[in-house]
């Protein structure tokens, strides 16, 4: 991540490739040692896979309408059925996953890699970690001001905060990212501050201080790398919440503008036809949201348990 690049001040003369591969292997073995984490990983990888290869996995575009076949159940032509406008649900579902996990549409033509939910959490992480580090390490009045401001933000109910922000700046993928970043920042800042308060009492921080290192170096090169374990696990859970939040916003009509495939708005539209005998349009995106969020939670929980035992 961008933050970690700061640690390059610790540049090494000896390449550490072998060490990195070993560490990856260690991480994987930790993951696979836990059944919970493995199930979570499989669920998450499934959605990442279909999102990445969405254009190959379906012949239809997510916006292509078929007037002849609205509100169909699963058929050979449309494996998951169609919605009220005859759009292929499978294709809408995986293009929806794409928006969540793989691309962030900035405008109609232009998109950048990294899904909306991922970006939302990443931006929150960047701001939250910086604030938490400053608060925790510097302490004093700066800490008081930052934390009280964040407390004030946390006192507003999350959904309300989302609604206020998106209503104020308009509904688009980028604005959803901004809203998620604002909502996510206080929690991450609190977590990082807590970790910092613990880590800053360690002797290696004293050692860095007696070496005359500047505050910036101590915060980002000495403290942050040691806080990354809990931060990564927290970030996984937060991606789950962010997907949930995207679903909620979409459902309330504040997500991505139509006709782009959005799980929340798919549920909202499909809901009207459940009693009319075609529940498919609402069912699939609900399952998608649930499985992805549950998958991320399982992954984070399993990882946390396993790393604790590992220590």
């Amino acid at each position: 991540m961008t933050v970690n690049e700061r640690t390059s001040e610790f540049v090494d003369l000896q390449p550490e490739k072998a060490g990195n591969i070993q560490r990856m292997r260690d991480a994987l073995s930790i993951l696979l040692a836990s059944k919970t984490a493995t199930v979570g990983l499989v669920l998450v990888l499934f959605w990442v896979f279909v999102a990445l290869f969405a254009p190959i996995l379906t012949p239809y575009s997510p916006t292509e309408q078929d007037w002849m076949a609205p509100n169909q159940g699963p058929t050979w032509r449309h494996p998951l059925g169609t919605d009220e406008l005859g759009r292929d649900l499978w294709s809408r579902l995986i293009y929806g996953a794409r928006v969540v996990l793989v691309i962030l549409p900035v405008s109609d033509r232009f998109w950048i890699p990294g899904g909306t939910a991922i970006w939302g959490v990443a931006v929150a992480l960047l701001i939250g970690a910086a604030l938490g580090l400053i608060s925790g390490y510097r302490g004093g009045w700066l800490d008081e001001i930052i934390m009280r401001l964040l407390d004030a933000m946390m006192s507003i109910p999350v959904i309300l905060l989302y609604l206020i922000i998106v209503a104020a700046i308009g509904a688009s993928a980028v604005n959803v990212v901004i809203a998620m970043a604002i909502v996510g920042t206080p929690g991450i800042a609190r977590l990082v501050r807590g970790l910092t308060l613990d880590i800053r009492t360690r002797d290696y921080i004293r050692a860095a201080e007696t070496r005359g290192e500047n505050t910036f170096f101590i915060m980002f090169a000495e403290i942050l790398p040691n806080a990354k374990g809990p931060i990564i696990i927290d970030a996984m859970l937060r991606v789950g919440y962010a997907i949930f939040a995207m679903g909620t916003l979409g459902f309330l009509g504040l997500g991505l503008p139509p006709p782009s495939p959005d799980w929340g708005s798919m549920v909202a539209k499909g809901r009207e036809f459940i009693l009319a005998g075609s529940p498919w349009a609402a069912l699939w995106p609900s399952i998608a949201i649930a499985s992805l969020v549950v998958g991320l939670n399982l992954l984070a929980d399993g990882l946390r348990e396993e790393t604790m035992r590992y220590q």
């Binding site: 610790f10 000896q14 060490g19 002797d203 290696y204 050692a207 007696t210 070496r211 000495e222 040691n226």
Partner: protein
């Protein structure tokens, strides 16, 4: 031995093997441990960390947790077999017939329950007894363990007691039901040396009165030498030697025991007259312990092919003394006290010819004058919130002057809370100093590290206490040593790797350590890396804050030797802080003794440890546990607690606890009123005391080696 087990012993442990289940496999933590505890007898178990001492203690009462279990052997307590008993049956015994005292008294006492309630609960839980009677007996027991104001203590909460008092309460709790067996697991490790001495006295005392068998576990040879009758030396889960205490100290028959005795500096030994012999390597992890070889063979000087081919049987060295070694006979003949016997110092012996050790006339590197570090105390009262209250200060360091010449070592000793850590934090610039002058390399350095000149920072580095926290776990060893080199540009960029390797080699770690991470190192190795990092900027002064106190003794010796060697090669000056008086004596040229933020006595090391003493130094020395059961040691115990640094006593700070003030007219009235003068006992040896030197000179030496 076995035949008498049923006759007299309270506890007979036979062939006890304990294993822990891990994710991979069953790990043996203790193997075929056999010993007996008779009534009124104290059995000491010594060994380094990870040798299975506590496992055995927990095994006896089956406190092994969910993953531990006894795989073999028997534990007979008063004739009944404990192995295989249900937890419910054991519960009836634990706390009643078998009592336990652990290392940390704060963790043994419930912080939210009054002392009195916790005490009489022990009685009411096990027998039908009226509450009033239970209470009365609790008070009596508190008196028995020499608690002042026993009645009042009953109503206090644990946090209102000092560490030593807490441990007394825990011991009182253990003794309430007059148990047949008392298991003490490192009961004094967390305590200061003077408090430790008092607690050990108490244990002796109780043993005499109650006829209780005691199983005493400690890593400290001095402590076990003081209290035990018999000794079991444990190594890597096995009892390697067992016998009467005197036998083991004078005729150790296992190389490990011999090694343990050789690697601790004796009190009074100095670096010029003696040396330490560390045991190479480290205790093998349970997974790496061989089953059919001698477990100690890889670290043993005596080992031959025979030792790795089969496991030695117990060798009977006579007098109830056995050792698990093929060469026990040979080791025993080699003798017990491998340290060169110190010539008895006469009090009149002149210290080395030095003009004036501490007033810094020649070649001063660091000159500190009247240093003060105060912390502002925020009281929670409304008055102080409104800014109307008086400002109160914790005088952590008050008016300290020290001086250090180039290439010398200054040792600072004192009990916890005496301000020695605050002093070094002030020196290194981590703590803002309130007042005073500090000149280092002829530069004024009386300011925090962030404002200091790069040169000053480079020339003054620090080694920390806790090996687990001294290195950043996120970076490899090489990177961490390279960082100060890069930062201070000690060498050209291309040479950094070579410089790191050179440093690694000078702390006896090879190039292969470059890419290792702290978690892959043992405590001693981490400490060496910490030393290498401190040396990386090629400083003139290295401050060592208890660099060996968290290490096992065999490793401690290696690190001390290393520091000595480095000092010889690089000519670095050292400030060495420790609470262990033997280590400080061994290591330092000059010693300063601190009490409550002030220096009480300072001078060349050899003068501090011989009369004339400051009364506080005398008390400290008489409390040091000496690893020699026959040594005669003066018995001076300080009463009361260390007063608060918030409101230090007037006059002499030590007057509230001074055992010698009655030597002065009017029972030392003057000590309460006037600050004592610095008296010069010998060139460079200063004592802050009212008692005239002639009187101080008449005191005997604290320790006479047998």
């Amino acid at each position: 031995m076995d035949s008498e087990a049923d006759s007299g012993a309270i506890l007979a442990v036979e062939n006890l093997s304990i294993a822990y289940k891990t994710r991979k496999r069953l790990l043996a933590a203790a193997r075929e441990v056999t010993f007996d505890v008779g009534p009124g007898q104290t059995i000491g178990i010594v060994g380094e960390s990870g040798c299975g001492k506590s496992t055995v203690a927990f095994g006896i009462v089956n406190f092994l947790g969910t993953n531990g279990r006894i795989t073999k052997g028997s534990v007979r307590f008063e004739g009944q077999e404990l192995v295989g008993k249900s937890q419910k049956e054991l519960n009836r015994l634990r706390g009643d017939r078998i009592a336990m005292v652990y290392q940390d008294p704060m963790a043994a006492l419930n912080p939210t329950v009054r002392i009195g309630v916790q005490l009489y609960e022990v009685l009411t839980a096990h027998r039908e007894i009226r509450k009033e009677e239970a209470r009365a007996r609790s008070v009596a027991m508190l008196r028995r363990v020499h608690m002042p104001d026993a009645e009042d203590m009953m109503n206090r909460y644990p946090h209102q007691l000092s560490g030593g008092q807490q441990q007394r309460v825990v011991i009182a709790m253990a003794m309430l039901n007059e148990p047949a067996l008392l298991i003490m697991d490192e009961p004094t490790t967390a305590l200061d040396v003077t408090v430790e001495a008092a607690v050990l006295d108490l244990v002796e005392d109780l043993k005499r009165d109650f006829d209780t068998g005691i199983l005493f576990i400690s890593h400290n040879l001095g402590v076990v030498a003081r209290v035990s009758d018999h000794l079991c030396v444990m190594y890597a889960g096995e009892v390697v030697e067992k016998g009467p205490v005197g036998e083991i100290f004078h005729h150790p028959s296992h190389p490990y025991t011999r090694g343990l005795l050789k690697c601790v500096p004796k009190l009074g030994a100095s670096k010029s007259a003696s040396r330490l012999y560390p045991i190479p390597g480290r205790v093998p992890a349970p997974a790496d312990r061989p089953i059919d070889e001698c477990v100690f063979a890889p670290r043993c000087d005596y080992s031959t092919e025979k030792c790795t081919a089969s496991r030695p049987d117990l060798f009977d060295a006579g007098d109830d003394h056995i050792a698990r070694c093929f060469y026990a006979e040979k080791v025993k003949r080699a003798g017990g006290s491998p340290l060169p016997v110190q010539k008895k110092r006469s009090a009149s012996k002149k210290p080395e010819t030095r003009e004036d050790g501490l007033s810094c006339k020649e070649d001063p590197l660091l000159d500190v004058e009247n240093l003060k570090v105060y912390y502002e105390q925020e009281s929670g009262s409304l008055k102080s919130l409104l800014g109307m209250g008086e400002e109160q200060f914790v005088r952590a360091v008050d008016n300290i002057s020290i001086c250090l010449s180039k290439g010398k070592t200054l040792g600072i000793v004192g009990e916890s809370g005496c301000g020695k850590s605050t002093l070094v934090k002030g020196l290194i610039g981590l703590e803002e100093i309130t007042d005073g002058e500090m000149v280092f390399l002829s530069m004024d350095v009386a300011e925090p590290v962030s404002k200091r000149n790069q040169v000053v920072i480079r020339e003054m580095q620090m080694v920390f206490q806790n090996p687990d926290a001294t290195l950043n776990p996120a970076y490899s060893v090489g990177r961490q040593i390279a960082r100060p080199i890069r930062r201070f540009k000690t060498v050209k960029k291309e040479q950094v790797y070579g410089e790191v390797v050179r440093l690694l080699q000078s702390v006896r770690l090879g190039e292969s350590y470059y890419n290792r991470y702290p978690r892959q190192l043992s405590g001693g190795e981490k400490q060496r890396v910490g030393i290498a990092r401190a040396l990386a900027s090629r400083p003139d002064l290295v401050i060592c804050d208890e660099p060996v106190s968290a290490l096992d003794v065999s490793v401690q010796a290696a690190v001390l030797n290393l520091l000595l060697e480095i000092q010889k090669i690089f000519g670095t000056s050292l400030i060495f802080i420790a609470h262990d008086l033997s280590v400080v004596r061994f290591f330092s040229d000059d010693v300063a003794v601190m009490y409550l933020g002030q220096i009480m006595e300072m001078g060349p090391a050899e003068t501090i440890y011989a009369p004339p003493y400051h009364p506080y130094t005398e008390a400290l020395l008489s409390a040091v546990p000496v690893p020699d059961p026959d040594a005669e040691q003066k018995h001076i115990r300080l009463s009361g607690n260390v007063p608060s640094a918030l409101n230090p006593p007037s006059g002499c700070r030590f007057h509230t606890r001074c055992p010698r003030r009655k030597l002065l007219p009017g029972n030392g009235k003057i000590c309460e009123i006037e600050i004592p003068p610095w008296q010069e006992a010998a060139p460079g040896h200063h004592i802050l005391c009212h008692i005239p030197l002639e009187v101080l000179n008449e005191f005997d030496a604290v320790i006479h080696a047998a």
